[in-house]
C-alpha cells in the first residue's frame, strides 16, 4: 500500500446510542506507521470510538473514512477484512475448539487451515489447539484472538484494553502485534484506561473524556 494514504479520517463525528450522545465532534486522523493511544475513564466512549473506526458502529453525524473510502457509503465488506479488531470480550464460539474458531475466520478470508494452526503456534497455543473454547481459560481465549489478528495480517489494528486479563509474556504479544502492523506500513489504535501502558507503546496519545477527544 502507498505510504501517503490516510488510514483513518474522522471529522466531527458524533455517535448516538438511542438518544444518548456517546461521542461528540470527534476528529482523528491516523496515518500509516502511527500507533495511536487513546486513554480515558470507563464510560468515556473509548469502546464506541474503536467500534466506530471498525465500521461496527454507525455514526449519527460527521464524516468518517477508512482506507480513503467513506466507510458508510462505500461497500464496506472489503474494508472490513483489512481491519483487525480485538474487543474486550472474546467473540469466539464456545462449543468449537480454539483451532476451529480460527479456521472459520481463515475460511472467511480465503486462507488455508494451516494458517490457523501456524497462528496458534505463534501465540504459544499449539498444544491447546483442540481444546474446546468453553474449557479454555480467559487468557487462552484472549491469545486466540491475538492469533486471529496475526493470521489475517490487518492494515489497521484496533485493540480495546489489550492488556487486561493477560499474563506477563502475553503482554509482549501486544507489543509484537503493534510493531508488526506498523512496520508493514499499517497503523494501530489502542484504547485503555491505563495511561502508562499506552504511553510506552504509542507514537502519539489522546485522552477521551465525556465523549470528546482531547
Amino acid at each position: 500500500m502507498s505510504g501517503s494514504t490516510t488510514l483513518v479520517d474522522l471529522e466531527k463525528v458524533s455517535v448516538r446510542a438511542g438518544a444518548v450522545r456517546i461521542l461528540e465532534d470527534v476528529s482523528l486522523t491516523v496515518h500509516p506507521g502511527d500507533a495511536v493511544g487513546v486513554f480515558g475513564a470507563n464510560g468515556a466512549g473509548k469502546t464506541t470510538l474503536l467500534r466506530l473506526i471498525a465500521t461496527l458502529q454507525p455514526p449519527a453525524g460527521g464524516r468518517c473514512s477508512v482506507f480513503g473510502a467513506d466507510m458508510y457509503a462505500a461497500d464496506r465488506f472489503d474494508i472490513r477484512r483489512r481491519i483487525g479488531y480485538i474487543g474486550h470480550t472474546p467473540g469466539l464460539y464456545p462449543e468449537l475448539t480454539l483451532l476451529e474458531n480460527l479456521a472459520f475466520v481463515a475460511d472467511a478470508h480465503g486462507l488455508p487451515e494451516s494458517e490457523a494452526r501456524r497462528a496458534l503456534e505463534l501465540v504459544g497455543l499449539s498444544g491447546a489447539a483442540d481444546r474446546r473454547t468453553d474449557h479454555s481459560s480467559h487468557g487462552m481465549q484472549r491469545r486466540t484472538e491475538f492469533a486471529r489478528v496475526l493470521m489475517t495480517g490487518p492494515d489497521l489494528l484496533l485493540l480495546d484494553e489489550p492488556h487486561s486479563a493477560l499474563d506477563a509474556d502475553a503482554v509482549d504479544l501486544v507489543d509484537e502485534l503493534v510493531h508488526r502492523t506498523v512496520e508493514r506500513g499499517g497503523a494501530a489504535v489502542l484504547v485503555s484506561h491505563d495511561r502508562d501502558r499506552v504511553n510506552s507503546l504509542a507514537t502519539r496519545t489522546h485522552e477521551i473524556k465525556d465523549g470528546t477527544l482531547l
Binding site: 446510542a17 438511542g18 450522545r21 456517546i22 461528540e24
Partner: protein, 244 residues
C-alpha cells in the same frame, strides 16, 4: 433539550364520542332483516370492525415502507399506532363474529376462510407489537419493526390465498351466508354509515395514539439521557425536532 410543549388536542375525543353515538343510533333504529331478525344489527358493528382491521394493517404496512424509505420517525409512530388500533379492531371483529355465529349457527367458531385469515392476522400483528418491546433503541426498534411490517404484509396475501384454496378443496358445508339474501336499501345505507363512522373513529384514535407514541418516545429519551454518561448534554431525540 427535549421539548414538552406539545399542544394537546381535544377534538379527537369529541369526534370519537359523536361517531360512536351516531353508529349506535343508526343501527338501532333501522328495521331488522326479515330472515335474521334482530341479530342482523350485529352486522353494523362487525363489518366496520373487520373493515378497520384490514385498513389499519394496510396503513401499518404503508407506514413501515415509508419509514424504510424516509427514515423519519413519524412514520414509525404511525405504523405503531395503526398496528395497535388494528389489533383492537381485529379482536373486536373476531369476537363479534363469534357472538353472531353462536345464535345463528349454534357454534362459536367455524373454519371459514375469512375467519381463519383474520385470526392469523391478529397473531401476526400481536407479534409486531411484541417485537417492538424487545429494544429501547429507537433506531433499531424502528428499522426492525418496519422490516417485519413489510414482510408480514407480503405474507398475508399468501396466507389469504392458501386459506381460501384450502376451504375450496374441502367443500365447506354451505351455511347461511353472513350477507344473507339481497339486503334492504335502508340496511345497506345504515351499514355504509356505520363503516364511515368507524373509519372516523379510527382516524381520531390515530391522532391520539400518535400523540401518545411521540410522548412515549420522549419519555424513553429522557430516561436514557438521565442515566447516560453524558447526561443533559447535546440531547436530540431523533425525529422529534422535525415537529409533528
Amino acid at each position: 433539550m427535549t421539548s414538552t410543549q406539545h399542544r394537546t388536542t381535544v377534538w379527537p375525543w369529541i369526534v370519537m364520542a359523536v361517531a360512536g353515538l351516531h353508529t349506535f343510533v343508526a343501527s338501532m333504529t333501522v328495521s331488522p332483516d326479515v330472515v335474521q331478525g334482530q341479530l342482523s344489527r350485529i352486522m353494523y358493528v362487525h363489518v366496520p370492525a373487520a373493515w378497520l382491521a384490514y385498513l389499519a394493517f394496510g396503513v401499518t404496512m404503508f407506514a413501515s415502507a415509508m419509514y424504510l424509505w424516509k427514515k423519519d420517525f413519524r412514520w414509525d409512530r404511525r405504523a405503531l399506532a395503526s398496528a395497535e388500533i388494528g389489533v383492537l379492531f381485529t379482536a373486536l371483529a373476531i369476537g363479534l363474529g363469534m357472538i353472531w355465529a353462536k345464535p345463528t349457527w349454534g357454534v362459536w367458531w367455524t373454519w371459514d376462510a375469512r375467519l381463519t385469515l383474520t385470526s392469523i392476522m391478529f397473531f401476526v400483528y400481536l407479534g409486531y407489537l411484541a417485537l417492538r418491546r424487545t429494544t429501547d433503541n429507537l433506531d433499531v426498534r424502528a428499522a426492525r419493526s418496519a422490516i417485519f411490517g413489510v414482510l408480514a404484509v407480503v405474507q398475508v396475501p399468501l396466507v389469504h390465498f392458501s386459506v381460501i384454496w384450502w376451504r375450496t378443496l374441502h367443500q365447506p358445508p354451505t351455511l347461511l351466508n353472513p350477507e344473507g339474501p339481497a339486503m334492504d336499501t335502508a340496511m345497506v345505507i345504515t351499514l355504509l354509515i356505520a363503516v364511515a363512522s368507524f373509519t372516523v373513529i379510527y382516524v381520531a384514535m390515530m391522532f391520539k395514539r400518535i400523540e401518545l407514541a411521540r410522548l412515549e418516545d420522549e419519555v424513553l429519551v429522557a430516561d436514557q439521557t438521565s442515566s447516560g454518561p453524558v447526561a443533559g448534554q447535546a440531547v436530540t431525540a431523533p425525529g422529534l425536532t422535525k415537529g409533528s
